[in-house]
């Protein structure tokens, strides 16, 4: 058996449903949901600037600053507080960088702000503002449009602002701490320098002419002094040197010096002097005796004294060779040199 509701109960159901629907509609009118509010902002008449999607009645905006005095290189935390809004979550953050008045005065950095809850009627946007220079004297007024759905159609977009510009004092920048010192990393030898009077030399390249003149003169002068001194100290040697000018005499003297080392020194000495005479005076090769030599020298116009000296030397040599005399080879060599010297000097 099927149970059916009583007629009184049946009449109550549509009534309850109608009441519920009516209540919902009223609630939606009094406290519109964010979804419905967003849908309600019409495009027609919406301001192209300074409208950030705020909906509400009697919306207020205001700046809140953490301080009004700031050093040139420091920052202010500025918070834009929007109150009496019905859609706190849907309001867009005003981009201060697009607002010339503010952008010209500050370097702007957006700070994160917590998302308001759905029922909140207030929303805040925080910014970090660094004055661009010391001429910055205020935070300018921010213009803010909002949508008032309860206003008559055509007058629903209302204008508000943050009030008068907030005066700001920009102080001189605080002196910065010096950066940490960096040691000079250069090769060690560069740190060593020369000191002393040598640094003040006028010109190292300038070579004095007098030095070269001294060198040029000193050599010949020293040589001349040496030569004169030698002649003064060794006159015989000087004479001998004069003799040496003759090639024949040089050869004869060399033979005389070598005669001491031969088996028969008197014969060698005789041969040396005879060779000299032959070369010097073109004597015939056949002559060898003192008489023949003296005669040949007479033909060559040799003075008699010189001829006698030659004859005496040859006699002495013969005596040394063939007779038991006491004339030694040294005295014979000296006689030979004397004879040659005498003839060279003639």
């Amino acid at each position: 058996m099927m149970m059916t509701p009583a007629p009184a109960v049946r009449s109550l159901i549509p009534t309850t449903l109608r009441c519920f629907i009516t209540a919902l509609a009223l609630c939606s009118l009094l406290r519109p949901s964010s979804f419905s509010v967003a849908q309600e902002v019409p495009l027609v008449g919406r301001p192209t600037e300074d409208f950030y999607g705020a909906v509400g009645s009697g919306v207020k905006v205001a700046w809140q600053l953490d301080r009004t005095e700031v050093a040139e290189d420091e920052e202010i935390i500025a918070t834009l507080v929007v109150t009496n809004v019905a859609n706190a979550q849907q309001i867009a953050r005003p981009d201060l960088k697009k607002l010339k008045d503010i952008e010209d005065r500050f370097v702007i950095t957006d700070l994160p702000n917590p998302t308001p809850n759905e029922a909140a009627s207030e929303v805040s946007f925080a910014y970090r503002l660094r004055p661009r220079n010391r001429q910055t004297d205020r935070l300018p007024t921010l213009v803010f449009y909002y949508f008032n759905p309860t206003a008559p159609v055509g007058k629903q977009f209302k204008l508000t602002n943050t009030g008068k510009a907030v005066p700001i004092t920009v102080l001189a920048a605080k002196p910065k701490a010096p950066p940490p010192a960096v040691p000079l990393m250069e090769p060690e030898h560069l740190f060593a320098i020369h000191t002393g009077a040598a640094l003040l030399a006028q010109d190292a390249a300038r070579s004095a002419l007098w030095r070269w003149v001294i060198v040029g003169l000193a050599g010949p002068l020293l040589a001349a002094i040496w030569f004169v001194a030698w002649r003064w100290r060794y006159p015989d040697s000087a004479k001998l040197a004069r003799i040496n000018r003759s090639h024949a005499a040089r050869r004869a003297l060399a033979a005389i010096h070598r005669a001491g080392r031969t088996p028969d020194p008197p014969a060698s000495l005789t041969a040396a002097v005879l060779n000299y005479l032959r070369l010097r005076y073109s004597l015939p090769h056949g002559i060898a005796t003192p008489f023949e030599v003296s005669a040949a020298l007479a033909t060559a116009a040799i003075p008699a004294a010189d001829r006698e000296a030659v004859s005496a030397f040859l006699h002495a040599c013969d005596a040394a060779r063939f007779a038991p005399t006491h004339a030694d080879e040294r005295s014979l060599a000296a006689m030979a040199e004397a004879v040659i010297g005498r003839l060279e000097a003639a």
């Binding site: 960096v182 320098i193 000191t195 003040l200 030399a201 060198v215 001349a224």
Partner: protein
């Protein structure tokens, strides 16, 4: 500007405290004080470089006052290097070598300074802008050493001739001949050195102060001679000047134009020096 002011201040302090002396001694005292201050601050490069720049300015002043010694040139170069002025250091070393080409310490310091120049490692520019040192007797022997050697050789020649006059022995003529050959060799080597230096000094040496593009003409609108800029510190020869631009010849023979403001000129010293007009 800063080093110049510091130099002036230091000179005033030195003038009041140092014993009276010539202007050169005063400048030298100033330079040495500034250099010592730089060494004292070597843990702080900024302060040290300022002090070394002051010392370098004083040494420059000394040099331009006519005090030309290799030691002063090396001090100048060291002060400039420590002040961070590599091109000026190269200028100082080149000027020192022009005065004392035999100075081994200056030659070593110049080679080391050149090693600090950012020459390109490869390519046409690398071969063109690297300096080519020439070897000659002037780089190895000082004038005093040459004087001593020549004096000795000449003395040998003269004494050997004298001895020959005494003894008439031909070997002394041989000694004299050897001495003469030595003198002749010295003469030829020094003549060759003189020729080399005169050839090198036909055009004044300039050093690039900053990295600069070598242009084909005397304006920035002309195309670059090389793709890369010449690095600061490159040594070039100035051939001509026109409208604030100088025509330069690189060590490799390439010719181009640089802005006059981008180079440091060296003080011309030595044989065959000429100024580009």
């Amino acid at each position: 500007m800063k080093p110049a002011i510091a130099l002036l201040a230091l000179m005033m302090v030195s003038a009041t405290s140092a014993s009276p002396g010539s202007a050169g001694e005063l400048l030298l005292n100033t330079a040495e004080r500034a250099f010592a201050a730089g060494i004292a601050h070597r843990h702080d490069s900024e302060k040290a470089r300022t002090a070394f720049a002051t010392a370098a300015a004083a040494y420059d002043e000394l040099w331009h006052s006519g005090f030309h010694s290799p030691e002063l040139a090396q001090n100048r170069a060291n002060a400039h290097r420590l002040a961070g002025h590599l091109p000026q250091a190269i200028v100082a070393l080149n000027e020192g070598i022009a005065v004392a080409p035999w100075s081994r310490p200056l030659q070593v310091a110049l080679e080391e300074a050149r090693a600090a120049v950012a020459y390109p490692n490869a390519g046409d520019l690398a071969t063109q802008c690297r300096p080519r040192p020439h070897a000659s007797i002037g780089n190895r022997m000082s004038a005093a050493e040459a004087w001593l050697i020549v004096a000795l050789l000449w003395l040998i020649v003269c004494l050997a001739i004298a001895r020959y006059a005494m003894t008439r022995q031909p070997r002394w003529l041989g000694f004299a001949g050897l001495g003469g050959i030595g003198l002749l060799t010295m003469g030829v080597l020094w003549w060759h050195d003189h020729q080399l230096r005169a050839h090198a000094n036909r055009y004044p040496l300039v050093v690039l102060a900053r990295d600069s593009m070598l242009r084909r003409g005397n304006a920035a609108s002309f195309p670059a001679r090389f793709e890369a800029p010449l690095p600061a510190g490159v040594e070039v020869r100035e051939r001509a000047m026109r409208s604030g631009w100088i025509q330069v010849e690189l060590a490799g023979g390439a010719i181009g134009w640089l802005p006059e403001s981008r180079v440091f000129r060296t003080q011309p010293i030595g044989p065959g020096v000429a100024s580009a007009e």
